[in-house]
């Protein structure tokens, strides 16, 4: 009689535990290791760091922690500048995404249903195609011998080719280009649900079109704006590919610093410390995101 209950319990345990254990093992545990290694000393060995626990004969782990990595990060303002620069670049790119994405999302939400579907599909499409290749496409456009410079030279607007590739401008362009769909989709989701009758009610009550927008449309779409901004800001902050391909050698984005610290300098504990701080910076936006995504969904 109770066999089905036992089977149900087993199934339930399986459904929950298999993915749970997987994520604990391959997602959470690695973070703890990063955190741990950020307190270790670098040594020239394989792996190039001292173990945080030394197993003594008594079986007790002796904690060998050092704050040297964090001290170094604070003392060398290269890192502080990198963090600030990353936040700055991510923030400006996010702002640009809102400015371009909001009117687009609004237009899509107000389009006829069949047109709307195609417009929406065209926003989603780039998201499915290769990120790397889309960033790469800009290299050919922006380079000194690229299409923009060729066109401007041919038109006689400029005499000398402009240096656009390998500058911050190129990084901004690349980020906005890559993450624009992340801004448009949550915005669209909130704007699409906006009841047109509410706007009519507002204008019926005497509001002019711009007032209707600021009094009704904008506040209602706020969860979408916030979710979209976080969806752009968070990955942009740790972005590696875009500054690596489009940015200059001096573009001090933290994702690139981390990568270089790890591969060029082989200072794993320092790279771990860089990652840990980046993660701490991201905790608040990530928690905000999960709250607003629920609100926007």
């Amino acid at each position: 009689m109770k066999a089905y209950k036992q089977r149900a319990r087993l199934w339930r345990a399986f459904v929950i535990r298999l993915p749970y254990l997987w994520l604990l093992l391959f997602f959470l545990a690695p973070f703890l290791i990063v955190f741990k290694i950020s307190f270790a000393d670098p040594v020239l060995a394989q792996p190039p760091f001292t173990p945080l626990f030394d197993w003594t004969q008594a079986g007790w782990g002796v904690l060998q922690a050092t704050l040297d990595n964090y001290r170094f990060l604070v003392s060398d303002n290269l890192y502080a500048l990198s963090y600030l620069k990353s936040i700055w670049v991510a923030a400006i790119s996010t702002l640009l995404c809102v400015l371009l994405g909001y009117p687009m999302a609004y237009g899509i939400a107000r389009a006829r249903p069949d047109v709307r579907f195609i417009l929406l599909l065209l926003v989603i499409l780039p998201f499915w195609t290769s990120f790397l290749l889309r960033v790469y496409a800009w290299m050919g456009i922006l380079s000194t011998k690229g299409l923009i410079n060729n066109a401007l030279l041919a038109l006689g607007v400029i005499d000398e080719p402009l240096q656009i590739l390998y500058t911050d401008t190129a990084v901004f362009l690349g980020i906005v280009y890559s993450y624009l769909p992340f801004m448009i989709l949550p915005l669209y989701a909130t704007l699409e649900r906006l009841d047109i009758r509410m706007l009519e009610a507002a204008s019926d009550l005497g509001a002019r079109p711009m007032t209707v927008f600021w009094d009704v449309t904008f506040p209602i779409s706020r969860p979408g704006i916030i979710a979209g901004c976080l969806l752009v800001f968070i990955p942009a902050l740790g972005e590696y590919v875009i500054p690596a391909l489009l940015g200059g050698l001096d573009s001090l984005m933290i994702g690139r610093q981390l990568y270089d610290e790890f591969y060029a300098n082989r200072d794993w504990p320092l790279a771990s410390a860089v990652a840990s701080i980046l993660l701490v910076i991201l905790v608040v936006p990530m928690m905000l995101l999960s709250r607003y995504q629920r609100a926007a969904a």
Binding site: M104, I108, L119, T129, Y136
Partner: protein
Amino acid sequence: MRPKRHFIVMSLAFGYAFLYVPIFLLILYSFNDSRIPTIWNGFSLRWYASLLDNQQVIDAALLSLRIALVSATAATVLGTLSGLALAHMDKFRGRLVFTALIAAPLVMPEVITGLSLLLFFISSEAMIGWPAQRGALTITIAHITFSSAFVAVVVQSRLAALDRSLIEAAMDLGGRPFAVARDITLPLIAPAMLAGWLLAFTLSLDDLVIATFVSGPGASTLPMLIFSKVRLGVAPDVNALASLVIVIVGLGVLVAGFVMRRRQVGESHPTSATDPPHVVA
């Protein structure tokens, strides 16, 4: 209202041009005969032909496809289970942590995920000797981990939109839990699972940063190969390769989009009084 409408139409035109002109230019210049990629020198298929001779590219593409197939399938299994757990199992110990573990990979910067997984694999190798070497296996594990989170979200939103009394009705009619899962739940979430699989597949094909971190000597995926080629500038054969990839994936997504649209239109008549029309991501 007039100027505002104008502004919106202009924004849409500019936005879509911004999104698509670079891609079209890339495809156009992949047919350029010139060795200097940005100077048009006449139509040619030579860069496409050269791809076929490039064993390195073919190997990398095959490796990427293999990893994508395996990781997308495993991620769909894991992600579907996660979606079920989140949507249908209201209370269990550690649910909050589980929810966070599903949400985090979606937004985690790739450098952090990549670095942490690499250090994890190295530590694990030092401690228990596994994995003996890094390569296709470690990349696959990494891809399963983050794409299963994406699948979970897609499946969960489908499950959340399902009328739960469908499942109760099946039980009420004598369906035992396993039969109900097979007869009702599975067919109803199958489209979401398919969408999740496709998402996981493209995410895996596309990933550069995490693969670079967790890969070992000798295992080079297609994005890794492309990245190493273009780091120093534009390369004409990469144009051809990029065009191929973009056109194939793009067509696939367009077809899938229209097929799902038609299914959705067919089902959007209320199937039951409280079942809202579902949205597939």
